[in-house]
Amino acid sequence: MRGAALRKTIIVLIWLVLWQVASLLVHNNILLAGPVEAIKALIRLGVTADFWLSVLYTLLKITLGFLIGVITGIIFAFLSYRFRLFRDIVTPPITVIKSIPVASFVILVIIWAGASSLSSVISTLVVFPMIYFNVLSGLDSTDSKLIELGTLFKFRLKDKLSHIFLPSVAPHLRSAIAVCSGMAFKSGIAAEVIGRPLHAIGTGVYLSKISLATDELFAWTFCAVVLAYLFEKLVSLVLRRLLPS
């Protein structure tokens, strides 16, 4: 275990050294800032209140959008499973939402709702269809014999959900949420780059682009990667507690 961790650390260090060497060879901070410049930029940004506000707002908005997407996805999937007509009505638009490029949605949301709630809406739109289709497929694959058992014995709703449907839905939900938690961050921050709301990581990325500050771009990116990683870990921890394996 310790050997594997050491091996990983050495590999990461090798890549960092290669990155630094490449930036020294290019000798142009606009084309390629090295890891040292990126860390300096991160420290420079890190002492400003604006940086932490950006991180906080992005985190809160994307988490909110993610949670709304998960909850509505689950509710819509159950309604679709229960009512055939509901499924026939909602599935085509949800399929469309799933295939529309995020950039198109970003423009529409800016027009309709403004930039401030942009990353929440976009992460909801990315998460919702994936949760919907995965949970629905879990519900559809529930053992029909157990459903008959619950129906004839008139199991209470909470018992039906936890002992008949949840074991079938849980693996689908778990894998969908694992994929979605990363996607919510990527698409939410991409939306911020286009919409540029006040205090947002995406806005920081955009400003570093127009001022050609590649070191700051890397610093913001590093920050986004760390946030997404921590968020995924937190979500998987919560899932392990809530869903049976």
């Binding site: 014999k145 157990l146 058992l149 004839l152 014995f153 199991f155 209470r156 018992d159 002992h163 008949i164």
Partner: protein, 191 residues
């Protein structure tokens, strides 16, 4: 409660399984359905439970098609929530009963050392007996059992048959079986 089957017909892939079958089931007249394998015993039970629809004919519950009726079934193949123990499985069907009461009933058919095991770890015969206790304890109008004595050894056959007979109460009882043990207290319906 009265269940009436009127002119039931059911065919699978063009082969008639049930032909113009009419039957009446009432409390106090337990019934066992007999016939060779594949003749339609399970199909008939599923039609009574409302899990299958007949091609023609109707099932009346107290004179009403699709009327209200609460079943306590034993299925042809064991259906239990595998990750729960016997007591918790029974509580799902009879939530108002206390664990002590359920354990007292289970003791009549299975050793108490089996109570805390997940049902997936129990033998086929023990699982079958758990299902029987569950059906007998569940609040219901109709006790309906598809081959309840399958997979039981000689000693347990008698115990389970006696347990079922004592547990029917004022409910309708319908079973499919090849066993003479049920014939002793049931009218026989030959398919």
């Amino acid at each position: 409660m009265r269940i009436e089957l009127k002119n039931i017909c059911k065919a699978y892939n063009g082969k008639a399984v049930l032909k113009d079958l009419s039957l009446v089931f009432v409390p106090g007249e337990p019934a066992v359905i007999e016939g060779v394998s594949g003749i339609g015993k399970t199909t008939l039970i599923k039609i009574i439970e409302g899990l299958e629809t007949p091609d023609s004919g109707e099932v009346l519950y107290d004179g009403v098609p699709n009327g209200k009726c609460r079943f306590a079934p034993v299925f042809q193949e064991t259906r239990l929530i595998e990750d729960l123990n016997a007591v918790r499985n029974i509580r799902l069907a009879a939530p108002e009963l206390s664990e002590d009461r359920i354990e007292d009933e289970l003791k009549k058919l299975i050793p108490s050392s089996e109570f805390n095991k997940k049902v997936r770890d129990l033998s086929g015969g023990t699982r079958r007996r758990v299902e029987t206790v569950r059906a007998v304890l569940a609040p219901s109008d109709v006790l309906i059992m598809d081959e309840p004595l399958t997979g039981l050894d000689e000693d347990n056959l008698r115990k389970v048959a006696a347990y079922i007979e004592a547990g029917i109460g004022d409910r309708i009882f319908i079973a499919s079986s090849h066993s003479e043990l049920l014939e002793s207290f049931c009218r026989v319906i030959k398919l």
